[in-house]
């Protein structure tokens, strides 16, 4: 039978492998700048956007992410783009989706990488030039047994 001590030794040994040399991370200031670069200073309102991510990700290498935006998706009134932003990844602006009335509905999914537990932002850019967002917290862990090949 495995004793508690064995397990702590194992966890300690496994844990030490996940340490990586330090590197620059996006800070909330970087995140703010990335948002500014997209909005060119236009105000960002909460609402209309729904970001769906798990509350806990077993592995930050791939986090299932869906963004849906309330919009009639007509020529006159549609979502132009959706951006996903991170406050703790090396790069704040993870991706952009470009949509239009031909999309029918503004709902897109992909898998993103997250370097740490953090708040993720989804930012939608509407055809009238307004910006809307949703933000979700996520806890990112690492797999228990990492690969030695």
């Amino acid at each position: 039978m495995l004793s508690r001590r064995d397990v702590i030794i194992a966890a300690c040994a496994l844990g030490s492998l996940t340490v990586r040399p330090g590197r620059a991370h996006a800070t909330p200031e970087f995140l703010e700048k990335a948002i500014q670069d997209i909005t060119k200073g236009a105000p960002v309102k909460d609402g209309k956007v729904r970001l769906t991510i798990p509350a806990l990700a077993e592995n930050g290498q791939s986090v299932y992410t869906t963004v849906a935006v309330e919009s009639p998706m007509t020529k006159a009134d549609h979502v132009r783009a959706i951006h996903i932003l991170s406050e703790k990844n090396p790069i704040a602006h993870l991706l952009s989706w470009h949509l239009g009335p031909r999309a029918g509905i503004a709902k897109v999914s992909t898998n993103i990488r997250l370097a740490a537990s953090q708040q993720v932002t989804a930012l939608a850019e509407m055809s009238d030039g307004t910006f809307w967002r949703d933000r979700r917290d996520i806890v990112v862990t690492v797999a228990a047994c990492i690969d030695g090949g």
């Binding site: 039978m1 495995l2 508690r4 064995d6 397990v7 702590i8 030794i9 194992a10 966890a11 300690c12 040994a13 496994l14 844990g15 798990p54 806990l56 077993e58 592995n59 290498q61 791939s62 986090v63 299932y64 999914s109 862990t141 690492v142 797999a143 228990a144 047994c145 990492i146 690969d147 030695g148 090949g149």
Partner: protein, 256 residues
């Protein structure tokens, strides 16, 4: 140092009560995964492992080797000929008496029948063919032979499973029997059944074989890693398949 010990004590591991042992059949590792991972695994359009299955389907029809044959030239459509094959493997090849898994069986076919060079064990091509062949048994229950010619391989595999090894001095069974269903970090320790291999692992960011998983486990306990396709791993694969008796094949599964 004191602080380090304190903080280690806070690591939430093995926090759940022990699961009831020897329920039959054992639950697939998929049942321990998050909703997001299970949903992606079940959706062919979202499961990245399907990229390897599709590649395998292409390779199935491709002529290889000096015999000028494709897999399909002998076996016909895999949807028929490979259905119900994967769940019998590993199995003893009667002419040589060797224990073969899907990967080594495919390579035997290449060298013997196609007169082609064997594919490298962890190559995309071999993983693709193995995943494609196994996929044809999706949902069918595993049932390997462990009697007759397979008996000695089974006994060796079982011995491997229960033998302590490595600097951490842990056996497979100490995690995957004694503590299956309990937490190791954010993962739930599985029963170690292998019914979803080749599997797409998020840590690998690619599809990998069960032997790659064995190597990762042995690395984790600081034990000697054997080569892909090593006899010790084939024996262990047979023992795991015997433990997985009655569990559906889920290739390609997704794991963190």
């Amino acid at each position: 140092m004191k602080d380090l010990v304190k903080s280690l004590a806070l690591i939430p591991i093995l926090a759940l009560p022990p699961s009831s042992a020897s329920a039959d059949p054992l639950p697939s590792g998929t049942t321990f995964q998050s909703t997001a991972i299970r949903a992606q695994q079940a959706d062919e359009g979202a499961n990245p492992g399907m990229l390897w299955v599709e590649a395998g389907a292409k390779l199935w029809g491709r002529t290889e080797g000096s015999a000028g044959k494709s897999c399909a030239a002998c076996h016909g459509p895999a949807e028929q000929s490979m259905k119900g094959v994967a769940f019998r493997y590993p199995a003893v090849e009667p002419t040589t008496g060797h224990l073969l898994n899907l990967e080594t069986r495919i390579n035997l076919c290449r060298t013997k029948n196609q007169k082609a060079a064997p594919l490298a064990y962890e190559s995309g091509e071999l993983l693709g063919l193995a995943a494609f062949a196994a996929r044809q048994s999706l949902g069918l229950p595993i049932g390997v032979r462990i009697d007759g010619a397979a008996a000695p391989f089974y006994e060796q595999g079982k011995a491997f499973f229960y033998r302590r090894r490595g600097q951490l001095n842990l056996s497979c069974a100490q995690c995957h029997v004694d503590n299956a269903g309990r937490k190791l970090r954010a993962d739930t320790i599985s029963h170690g059944l292998g019914n979803g291999y080749p599997t797409y692992r998020l840590e690998w960011q690619t599809v990998g074989s069960l032997h790659r998983r064995f190597r990762a486990c042995l690395f984790g306990v600081r034990a000697v890693q054997y080569d892909f396709g090593a006899p010790d791993y084939l024996d262990l694969e047979l023992y795991l398949a015997s433990r997985a008796e009655g569990i559906a094949i889920e290739t390609p599964a997704i794991r963190p």
